[in-house]
Every structure is written in structure tokens, then in C-alpha cells.
Amino acid sequence: MKCKQHLTEKIIKNIFFLSSLTSIFFLLGISFILFKEGLPLFREIDLKSFLWGKSWYPTYNPPEFGLLPLILGTLWVTLGALIIAVPLGVSAAIYISELATPKIKDYLKLAIEMLTSIPSVIYGFLGIVVLGPWLQNLLNLSIGLCSLTASLLLALMAIPTIASISEEALFSVPKDYKEASYALGATKWETIAQVTVPAAFSGISTAVLLGMGRVIGETMTVLMVAGGAAIIPHSFLQPVRTITATIALEMGETVVGSNHYYALFAIACVLFIISLTLNLSADYFLNKFRRISR
């Protein structure tokens, strides 16, 4: 009887072990396919002209596969989104963690979580139909689909991530720090600004990095709203194109096995590497902050 139970336990343990291996399997599988389909591009062009090329004309004769406008477009809208989202998200987190009454805290946390439940295509739709034309009229632009519109919507998506993780970081700053600060005669604001926030710094950095990772990978919204012009951005009031939008825009109609196809996989590899780096650094900071607060 005991032998049978032992065997059942062993089987179940192995099943769970195999299930946990599937995520590693998929991660390796996806990276393998991305690089397998992306590397053949470099038979045709060299890495330097791919990374620094200023024109993206994949179907022209001869084709040009310059990544620079696309990657700068991605970084540009991400920067814009972070400029808006980080102050708003961290301030919201500070308010919720330090200043709100418990009841207000609950409602605010709920409201912020609700923002994450809105699908990104709805943000894109709102951008085309509401925000774009409104900005067009307000700022007298020639067209409302520009990186500013995209950054505003992406910020709305990043704020919940940044706010909830920052709030968690601020909340786990040990009480002793704050009490020591008050004992030394500091006001509430001085305590928050000079003790609590710096102590929670690695947690807040994690939050920002995760928010950034969310924004960089966002496809639907930027496809619909950022404009789609593959140029090197030098103003927020200009349309831009991101890597994600390019892949979504062009993958449907490329001939499988053509250079265009390989090029799209190559830019996907670049995006994958950037996203992976961001998430790994966020993880590193997360571990650091969890160790400090214990």
C-alpha cells in the first residue's frame, strides 16, 4: 500500500516538473525560430547597414533594410510614454502608499487595476476616433496620428504596472526608517521625499523597467495611432513607426522565404533581445529590493 502511494506521488511530481519545463521549452523554441529565420538576411546585407541604415524600403528594387528609423521610432514613443507615465505612476503610488485613507486606497487601487483590463485595440480605436482628431484640432497639426498620441495611450497602459509595483515597493520600506526620520524632527513630506522613496528606489526602478517592457512590445495601439511613417523622429508631433507596427503591417503580405520575410524576423530578433534585456534587468532589481526589505 505504501509502495503504491509512493509511486503515485513520484508520477505526479514528475508531471508537475515536466509542466514547469514547458515554459523553458517554449522560450528556447521561440528564440531558436526567431534567429533561424532572421539570420539568413545577413547573407544579403551586412550587420552594419542593417543596424544603421536610414531607409526601410523592403519591397523596392534593390531593397533597403535599414533598422534605424524603426528602432528609433520604438525608443521615441517609449520615451514619450515614460515621461508621462513615470511621474504620474510614482506619484499615484506615493499617494496610495503614504497618504490615502484605507477606504480611498482600496478604490484607487481598484480603479488603477481596471485600466489594465482595457484591451489595447480599444486604446487604439479611441486614439483614431477621439484622441487623434482632438489633438489635431487643439495643436493645429496636419494630422493627429503622431508619436504624442501614441505616447499618451501607451502611458495609460504603463501607469497601472508602474503604480502597483512602486506602491508595493514603498509599502515594504521598513517602518523603522520612517519612525527614525520623524524622531529626528522631519515633516511627512521630508520623510517621503528623502527617506521612503530613496529606500524604495530599486523597487521603483523595477516598476519603471517593467512598464517600459510593456510599452516596447505594444503593437496594436501604435499600429493604429502612431502614424506609420518610417522616418527618423525629431519631434513628438510627427508620425513615427515602431518595430512592432512594422511587423504587424507587413507580415501579412510578404512572400514566405523572401528577403523581406527574413528582414521582418531580424527586426523581431532585435525587439526580442531588447525586451529580454529589460525583463532580466527588472528581475535583477526586483531581487535586490526584495532582499533589502526583508
Binding site: 524600403y57 489635431q136 494630422i143 506609420g228 511613417a229 501579412g252 503580405e253 512572400v255
Partner: protein, 273 residues
């Protein structure tokens, strides 16, 4: 209790495997490809399935290139395409042993459109080309208002873009400032809300929210496309692997019939003469 749950789980797994296999008796015809042909395929499929209750058609978009790839891979039965197959695709067909047969199901014109408030009435092909390569950047250079031209285009691998590139751009590069959109409808929406915008869509997407430009003195319309006088026109294709069989054959015959061609016309395209 444990044994019962185990039996239930096994039963659930077996059922989920059996049910799709039993449904495989009814073959579903997949029609996939060009977003330009999509409205015709959808409208025709609706009527066709009403007339033939045992037929099961699945209509999808995705783009001309996507549809042709699916035909080569064997994941669709009919590929909609707003352009003829490219050399590379034909080579791929030969490699995979696929013999594509084109069927022209309708004619389409591409209209160049601007915002209704734009005073410009007509342009020559040369002028449209200069606008799209970035040589002309303000409407006042063409006698219009002092307004920056906002170029709206399709992604460079769209069938609609290909025809535009061949006939208007004549091999020149489109300006990188052009805003690439994913579909005819997206272009129409942007043009209708942006004063300085110019774009191009299939005739089926013309409505009162946009204004069609007279090209080389010819108005884009059914008559001018059929007579061949309107310069930017093209046939719309449905490709099959080999001669079409069974329901696929009936579907294409239906689109060629009088009822089918009426649907083509209702969708805003030009029925075959």
C-alpha cells in the same frame, strides 16, 4: 472519489479529441487573402450558403500575399488576390507541386481621394507621382490652399499598393513621410478627417466622406474602368490549386453568375463585361 475524478478527466480528454474528428466529415472551404476582394467574398458567401445549406465557407482577410502563401501551403482552398502572382510565388508553387489557376472575378479601379473640403478637382498622373515621391509638399503648389500635404499610403507589400506603385509611381520610391496604413478602410477614415490628406483606395470604398480626384481628366467610375479609359484599374483574382472542384467550383461559378456579379456591383466594384 479520486478514481472517479480520474475517470472524468480521461473522459473529458477523449471527448475533446473525438468531437473535432467527427466534424471533419463536413469539409469547410477556406477563402483567404486580399482585403480588397474580401467584401465581395463575404457578401457572396452569405448568399451562397443560404442557397446551399450544406456548404460551409470560411472567409478571411490577411492580404493578397498571405492568401497566396496559404494556397501554396494547402491551408486554404481559394486565394483572393488583388494582384497577379509574383515570380517568386510562382517559383514556390513549382517547388511545392502546386499549380495555381487564376480566375478573374471582378474589375476594380483605384481612386485617389482627398478631403471633401479640398478645392483640387483633378490631377495628372505626373502630379500624383510628384506628390507621393515628396517633390510637391504643399497643396498651394497645385493651385490649392496653403496646407501641408499629408501622404497616406498602404504598407509596401499590399496588393493595392503594388498596383499604385506600378501605374503611378512607375518604380520611384514613395516618400518615407507617408503614413502606412493597414487597409483600404483605414485610409478612407484618415482622409475623411484630415484636411490636407491624400490617399488611394479601391473604388468600393468611395463614399460621401471622401472626394475622388479626376485623374488625367478621367473620372473614376464603373464605366471608365470597363471602357479602359481610367488609367488606374486592375482585375481582381481568385486563385485555386489546379482546376476548382466541388463546392469551391460552385462558389466561383456563383460569383460569375448574374446574381454574383450583382453582388460585385453592390459592393462597389465593377462586374465583368
Amino acid at each position: 472519489m479520486k478514481r472517479i475524478t480520474l475517470i472524468l478527466i480521461l473522459a473529458g480528454i477523449i471527448l475533446t479529441l473525438i468531437i473535432p474528428i467527427s466534424q471533419a466529415g463536413e469539409k469547410q472551404i477556406v477563402v483567404q487573402g486580399s482585403t480588397t476582394v474580401l467584401p465581395i467574398a463575404q457578401a457572396a458567401a452569405e448568399v451562397f450558403m443560404q442557397n446551399n445549406p450544406q456548404a460551409d465557407l470560411s472567409i478571411r482577410g490577411g492580404g493578397s500575399g498571405n492568401g497566396i502563401t496559404a494556397l501554396i501551403d494547402g491551408t486554404c482552398d481559394i486565394a483572393d488576390s488583388s494582384r497577379p502572382m509574383k515570380d517568386k510565388e510562382i517559383l514556390l508553387c513549382q517547388e511545392k507541386g502546386v499549380s495555381p489557376v487564376p480566375h478573374i472575378i471582378a474589375m476594380d479601379g483605384i481612386a485617389v481621394i482627398v478631403h471633401p473640403s479640398n478645392p483640387i478637382q483633378g490631377l495628372t498622373i505626373e502630379q500624383i507621382k510628384d506628390i507621393y515621391i515628396g517633390k510637391i509638399t504643399n497643396w498651394k503648389e497645385l493651385g490649392g490652399e496653403d496646407q501641408k500635404i499629408v501622404l497616406v499610403s498602404r504598407d509596401s507589400s499590399s496588393g493595392t499598393y503594388e498596383i499604385f506603385e506600378t501605374m503611378i509611381l512607375q518604380g520611384k520610391k514613395v516618400s518615407p513621410d507617408s503614413l502606412s496604413q493597414t487597409s483600404n478602410q483605414a485610409i478612407a477614415t484618415i482622409i475623411s478627417t484630415t484636411k490636407g490628406a491624400i490617399g488611394y483606395v479601391g473604388l468600393g470604398y468611395l463614399n460621401s466622406t471622401v472626394k475622388a480626384i479626376v485623374v488625367n481628366e478621367i473620372i473614376p467610375s464603373q464605366e471608365t474602368v470597363l471602357s479602359g479609359t481610367y488609367p488606374i484599374s486592375r482585375p481582381l483574382f481568385m486563385y485555386t490549386n489546379g482546376a476548382p472542384q466541388g463546392i469551391a467550383k460552385d462558389f466561383i461559378q456563383f460569383i460569375w453568375s448574374e446574381e454574383g456579379q450583382k453582388i460585385v456591383e453592390e459592393q462597389g466594384f465593377i462586374p465583368l463585361p
